[in-house]
């Protein structure tokens, strides 16, 4: 699997767009009572949003392998962002209420299913994104031919 500079730039852009929903869903999954808005730990909603989040990587990337790597990449970035959100009271407000054990408990033990959903939803979104792109491309080609015949 070879990456060009353009591929990496594209992956970085996709991660920038797709990471915030992943970060929010992770934080919301841990603290549904204080997050705004809240999905209330609904895994179906998480999967649906994961599909939506995965769509740009399929829509903007022709290479399927690259699109799938993008899914892993933005999930990792989003997760890291969620860790930062959890640390916000400590880092921003200098408060010691943050429980260090929670890093392990919340981000490595309780959220395995969540990670799996992000990746699965991301792959589904990737495929859906590619289908939409191909469908738009076919429509455009069809219209161009029609236009050509009429003139």
């Amino acid at each position: 699997m070879k990456f060009t500079k353009e591929d990496l730039a594209k992956m970085a852009l996709i991660s920038l767009i797709s990471a915030p929903p992943v970060a929010f869903m992770t934080f919301d999954f841990m603290f549904p009572n204080i997050s705004t808005p809240s999905f209330g730990k609904s895994l179906l909603l998480v999967l649906s949003l994961s599909v939506l989040t995965g769509m740009p990587s399929g829509y903007f990337t022709k290479r399927t392998d690259l699109a799938m790597v993008s899914v892993f990449f933005y999930t990792a970035v989003g997760y890291a962002l969620a860790v930062l959100l959890y640390s916000a009271p400590y880092t921003i407000y200098n408060l010691e209420q943050v429980i260090s054990d929670f890093y392990y408990a919340m981000f490595f033990r309780f959220t395995i299913i969540l990670l799996w959903l992000f990746v699965l939803g991301g792959f589904m979104g990737t495929m859906f994104g590619q289908m939409v792109r191909d469908w738009i491309s076919r429509e455009e080609t069809g219209l161009a031919f029609k236009k050509g015949r009429n003139t």
Binding site: P21, N33, I34, M55, Q97
Partner: protein, 199 residues
């Protein structure tokens, strides 16, 4: 360069996703801010100015009172879940009845008491001791202490006051029974004991 071209070509889709991303970025910021404010409230909500008094009132009855302030500088209303006050006298003269019960009060979750945001709330409790049996125990203790060379009156006896309160911050109480940490996150537990001193 080719990325920019693609972005321009698919500007509707790109804009849509940027809006979606911005929405969740905003949600992340709002949630982290709430989380920070809750952590701050847990540190800033304190008890202060505990005061206790005992005086003889009509018919020789004893009035034992206790007051304490709860300072809530946070932006959230605090909902009182439980609140309790106990006043006793430690009776070292009697090995079987070591604590003489003077007064008590308890407020449970069904009372719906609130401490509004950015306010200081005063709690005042008092108990009129008119029971002759209790008064006799107190007088007995005074007489016992006199024998040991310590002079007390009903008003100067060292009554102990125990106060504890459990509050929920804002409307963040949750209903998931299995995940207690969610309620722990928004719970403030404070206590004061006159034996230990400052709250």
């Amino acid at each position: 360069m080719s990325i920019l071209k693609k972005v321009k070509r698919h500007w509707v889709t790109v804009t849509m996703y940027i809006v979606l991303s911005l929405f969740f970025t905003g949600a992340c910021i709002v949630s982290a801010n709430t989380y920070g404010a809750i952590a701050q409230a847990q540190r800033d909500v304190v008890l202060q100015n505990p005061q206790h008094d005992a005086e003889i009132v009509q018919h020789g009855n004893l009035n034992v009172s206790f007051s304490i302030q709860l300072v809530n500088p946070s932006r959230y209303t605090l909902h009182i879940y439980t609140l309790s006050w106990y006043s006793t006298l430690v009776n070292s003269s009697n090995p079987t009845d070591r604590a003489i019960q003077i007064g008590e009060d308890y407020v449970g979750p069904t009372q719906y008491l609130e401490v509004p945001a950015k306010t200081t709330f005063n709690f005042t409790f008092w108990s009129i001791v008119s029971d002759p049996a209790t008064l006799a125990k107190l007088t007995g203790f005074i007489n016992y202490s006199k024998g040991l060379g310590q002079t007390y009156t009903l008003e100067t006896l060292s009554y102990t006051h125990e106060f504890s309160i459990m509050l929920f911050i804002g409307e963040f109480e949750h209903e998931y029974i299995r995940e207690r940490y969610l309620n722990e996150l928004v719970t403030v537990r404070l206590g004061y004991s006159s034996e230990e001193g400052t709250p």
